[in-house]
């Protein structure tokens, strides 16, 4: 007699969730004035579930904002733009299937890239063999560019390849006068292709500059309890700390440092402090003071269209400039780059865009970007620091808006 009940319950649940899913998945109508040429769809596989989903949503926001702006000025070379998003659940099989479907079944005109080097690599192999351009906001680890044979249709739309992200930080540290310069450093990093190459590069450069390594620890990306790892850094008691992290670990490290009353003179994370309000809410506004992070974009930068981007983002999604995640700016830049390439080539055909993207410099909210033959950007990122509750660029001097705070003020409590 139990069985019919169980069957009924699961039957209702399945119908209910399918109904909810069907209702929820209807795509929002794209707004904007009707364009002269045929409307086009741009397909993107985004991680809306799974490990990379927080960033996936930020990318979506950036792409949507770009599509809105583009349509407001008549579309991409006159073509009205509709974005089509599909979820790859942060999985290889799904991301390959997604781009196959987008290109061959939905017949999208263009594609933009997904989140993370891990998904960008298999995705770009698929899009390349169909001749599609693959401008992407978030896959810049060394493996992305180390393909044989090389892929020429991929373009990493950030100022610098990921491996060089901490170079500005290193230059700043080595530029300090000898009396102030730190003597020792401790490193801790996730073993993932985004964070570890950056930290390894920084370590090599700092060691070459005479700064002794007291600790170097690599930890699994799936770690959830960071206290023991933070403990090891604390025990090393180095002058400065370099952490290769994403947001959850950066928050956990800061909390652990607070718990243990440990205050390094300088503290830089490869990721986390660039998540705006989400980060400051989690660690407490007072504890953000002095924390550094490399960034390709910041809300008050004097880069082309940035003020417009920031005000429109706030108008569409709410919040303050400090809340805007850099992933959204990166996604927006992808759109900007494609728009400029299309203008230059007078065409939105993929082959024309690929040729166009390999030459010239593109103006984006992240600053000017130019790509080499395998899609690597040739710039460098800036060093950004939290001061008085907002992030400001502090190095190199040409781009700095404020002086770097050194040593870092102690954590409260």
């Amino acid at each position: 007699m139990r069985k019919p009940v169980s069957v009924a319950v699961t039957g209702i649940v399945s119908l209910g969730s399918l109904g909810l899913a069907a209702c929820g998945s209807s795509s929002p109508a794209a707004s904007g004035s009707p364009a002269a040429a045929a409307p086009i769809t741009i397909g993107v596989s985004v991680s809306l579930t799974g490990d990379f989903s927080g960033d996936g949503k930020a990318l979506e926001q950036g792409y949507d904002l770009w599509a809105q702006d583009e349509n407001a000025k008549g579309g991409l070379l006159g073509h009205h733009v509709t974005m089509k998003y599909v979820d790859d659940a942060s999985s290889t099989t799904q991301v390959v299937t997604n781009y196959q479907n987008l290109i061959n079944q939905d017949r999208v005109a263009l594609v933009f890239g997904p989140f993370s080097s891990l998904l960008t690599i298999p995705a770009s192999t698929v899009t390349d063999r169909f001749g599609y351009a693959f401008p992407e906001p978030a896959g810049g680890g060394p493996a992305v560019f180390a393909r044989t044979p090389a892929i020429h249709s991929l373009f990493f739309v950030q100022p610098a390849p990921v491996v060089d992200n901490l170079v500005s930080f290193v230059h700043w540290v080595l530029s300090l006068p000898a009396s102030e310069r730190p003597a020792t450093a401790a490193y801790s990093t996730e073993d993932d292709p985004f964070t570890q190459p950056q930290v390894d590069t920084a370590k090599a450069l700092l060691e070459a500059g005479g700064i002794r390594t007291l600790a170097y620890k690599v930890y699994p990306a799936e770690t959830t309890d960071f206290t023991p790892l933070a403990q090891q850094v604390i025990n090393a008691n180095a002058d400065i700390v370099v952490v290769g992290s994403q947001e959850p670990d950066s928050v956990a490290f800061i909390k652990a440092f607070q718990q243990q009353h440990y205050n390094p003179k300088a503290l830089v994370f490869t990721g986390g402090p660039d998540q705006g309000k989400d980060f400051s809410d989690k660690v407490g506004a007072a504890n953000t003071e002095g924390v550094m992070v490399p960034a390709g974009w910041w809300s008050s930068a004097n880069t082309p269209d940035n003020t417009k981007f920031v005000s429109e983002f706030i108008a569409k999604y709410g919040g303050t400039p400090g809340d805007i995640p850099s992933d959204a700016a990166e996604a927006y830049s992808v759109g900007e780059v494609v728009d400029q390439a299309a203008q230059k080539a007078h065409s939105i055909a993929n082959s024309a865009l690929i040729t166009a993207l390999h030459t010239g410099t593109y103006q984006t909210v992240q600053g000017p970007i130019a790509f080499d033959s395998i899609g690597r950007p040739n710039g460098s990122t800036f060093l950004v620091q939290w001061q008085n509750g907002v992030t400001v660029p502090v190095y190199p001097p040409a781009a700095a808006v404020a002086q770097p705070e050194y040593p870092k003020p102690a954590f409260s409590g």
């Binding site: 799974g50 959830t224 960071f226 206290t227 790892l229 025990n235 909390k255 243990q260 009353h261 409590g413």
Partner: protein
């Protein structure tokens, strides 16, 4: 040397949390002979329930247990009656799939309600710590450990000092014989499952205060819990506790002595080593059994 001592202390503290979570899992196995692969998801569900109470009504996570534990107990009873009791044949293999489906359902629902962003249970005292032996221990860990000890004590009391507990133990030893002496095995199973899920709620709070979690966190968690109960011996509460503490100590010491990336490996390696010597685990009994 302090580093190793620190690691041992830390291992004991976090081992307590895992012991609590594992105790529910091994209890469920012992009574119903099913592997509740959804236990990790239930822990995370408990963590999210407390998170929701914290976010909306600013209730302290430990205090929220007053609400979440009874709620999760009820949920456990319902789940057992609706989804597990109907499984008559091929019980153990099918139960894995059914409980996995429950886990997926919970994961999907949590993802829908809370998004996949990592969160953590915060308390105003979470960065407070006290010094001992040259390092600091956060109060949160100590409170959590205390809670685990208390709840484990309660479980032992129930099992060994109440009539209901005798019924549970009888069912664990021999289901048919228990029925023959008049134990209402179905009712015992439902309540035992409920207790197991309630402990998951408590485990969820302590886990959530010391770890970042999101709906997908249950995979990692369940693999560790399963490893712990096998090491301890399926169905043995004592075994689960000793295994949990032992494995966490080994893991933390490995992280310090060798490297954090090998810590989880040591965790699983310990299981393999023990099983080579003692396939039934530390306190398990060798029975003539089939899946």
């Amino acid at each position: 040397m302090t580093l190793i001592l620190e690691a041992v202390v830390f291992g004991i503290l976090t081992g307590g949390v895992y012991a609590l979570m594992a105790s529910g899992l091994t209890l469920i196995f012992g009574v119903m002979r099913i592997i509740n692969v959804g236990h990790g998801a239930l822990v995370i569900l408990g963590a999210y329930l407390s998170f929701a109470l914290l976010r909306s009504a600013n209730i302290d996570p430990f205090v929220s247990l007053i609400i979440t534990m009874p709620a999760m107990f009820a949920l456990g009873v319902v789940l057992q009656i609706v989804f597990i009791r109907p499984l008559k044949e091929d019980r153990e293999a099918l139960s894995v799939l059914v409980t996995y489906a429950i886990a997926l359902g919970i994961e999907g629902l949590l993802g829908f309600l809370f998004t996949d962003n990592f969160v953590q249970l915060n308390a105003w005292y979470e960065t407070a710590s006290f010094a001992v032996f040259g390092f600091h221990i956060a109060y949160v860990y100590v409170f959590g450990f205390g809670l685990c000890l208390a709840l484990l004590g309660v479980i032992f009391l129930i099992l060994y000092r109440t009539t209901f507990g005798s019924a549970v133990r009888a069912t664990m030893l021999n289901r048919t014989a228990a029925q023959l002496v008049g134990v209402n095995v179905d009712r015992v199973s439902a309540i035992a499952f409920g207790i197991g899920v309630a402990t998951a709620a408590a485990g969820g709070v302590v886990f959530g205060m010391t770890n970042a979690f999101n709906p997908g966190s249950h995979y990692d968690l369940i693999s560790r819990l399963l490893t712990i109960i096998v090491l301890g011996g399926l169905g043995s509460l004592r075994g689960a506790i000793i295994a949990a503490v032992g494995m966490l100590i080994i893991e933390d010491v490995t992280a310090v002595v060798i490297s954090p990336v090998w810590a989880s490996f040591a965790f699983f390696l310990l299981l393999v080593v023990v099983l080579v010597v003692r396939p039934q685990g530390l306190y398990g009994i060798r029975v003539r059994e089939r899946i």
